[in-house]
Symmetry: C2
Subunit: 212 residues, 2 copies
């Protein structure tokens, strides 16, 4: 039942991307099963996939005989079961700061600008809507980073916060958010662009990327 | 610097409520500082409060010399620093199921039906909008509970998942969601209604509840 991990993923899904980064950083080998969430394809709604993920979302991760959903929960599981390359600092207060950044992105930004919500908001209001929530959240993240950042979000080691931040910066660019307002975020994004674990996880390097 | 913990809370905020339940369960004493997020009051936007919480939200928790924000991050911190009364099971797979339910509510439901998003959606569409996302999320939670629930969400011990579920059920009732569709959720809600830690944390028992 164990075997190689399987990640159900969509190339452009920022939640899938978070997990891809963490899997790469922790050197866990996995196969990707692409699930197209594109309007019209909607593979996440198939009977078969709903049995895997009742939220009808990517990612899902089959690992150690478990099927796991929800990126933050998946990353906590990987951290607990594969602690050798840690993505949380040891200090309790610093761990809380990592998780705050993850939570701001996972609850305060991404849910409000993901594809299924944008479909509901309607085409003409999508860009303004997405920009509003990304700006709100990034202002808070930038404020936290002003006291916590070193080379990366929290000090000088890559953490779960970086796994969440980089995909969200990509989304911010898609919605033409003015990133010059967020110098700490931009600095970390630039620094991680060429990190192998991040580069291999990015949308353009995925098997289901259409221009690959 | 340490002293008694201070919880910045709003009586009807489900995110504040999650933390109140966990603090009560873990028998951590705290004082409440009410922050009114009601439209027109908007105390969360004050310069003073923004220094505490750059997301301009409740809850925030001052504890152990730290100021913590984001309910899920706060609960993980309490679990790590106060493990004596645990709110996560010991098994890794079961912990992941707890966190999945927390994440579905924290990312898939609550952000889409909280006050600041409803203000943005506009009065005439609020109820339909909120019902849509609560039903989507509760269908997934109900599916998970069908395999994990005992007396409570995960087995027979109260966990973080219950701290997240009960306030969300209250919100579902406010938006007139048909809870008969979710028998496992209803059963757990009924069972926890009279649990002292939950009862003392509920909106009606808060110092800033207007009808108190």
């Amino acid at each position: 039942m164990a075997g190689k991990a399987i990640l159900y993923s969509y190339w452009r899904s920022s939640c899938s991307w978070r997990v891809r980064i963490a899997m790469n950083l922790k050197e866990i080998s996995y196969d990707i099963v692409p699930v197209s969430i594109l309007k019209g394809k909607d593979e996440q709604h198939s009977d078969e996939y709903r049995k895997i993920n009742p939220m009808k979302q990517v990612p899902s991760l089959a690992i150690d005989g478990n099927i796991l959903i929800e990126s933050l929960s998946i990353l906590e599981y990987l951290e607990e079961t594969r602690p050798k390359i840690p993505l949380l600092p040891s200090d309790f207060g610093a761990r809380a700061k990592v998780r705050e950044i993850c939570a701001i992105i996972a609850s305060g930004i991404q849910p409000l600008q993901n594809l299924k919500v944008l479909n509901y908001v309607g085409k003409e209001k999508q860009q303004e809507w997405a920009q509003h929530w990304i700006n709100e959240g990034f202002r808070a993240v930038e404020k936290i980073l002003s006291t916590t950042a070193g080379e990366y979000c929290i000090g000088n080691d890559v953490t779960l916060a970086d796994c969440f931040l980089i995909p969200q910066v990509y989304n911010a660019r898609r919605f033409q958010v003015n990133l010059e307002l967020f110098p700490n975020i931009l600095k970390i994004d630039t620094r991680l662009k060429n990190h192998p674990a991040f580069r291999e996880a990015d949308p353009e390097h995925q098997p289901d990327c259409p221009n690959k």
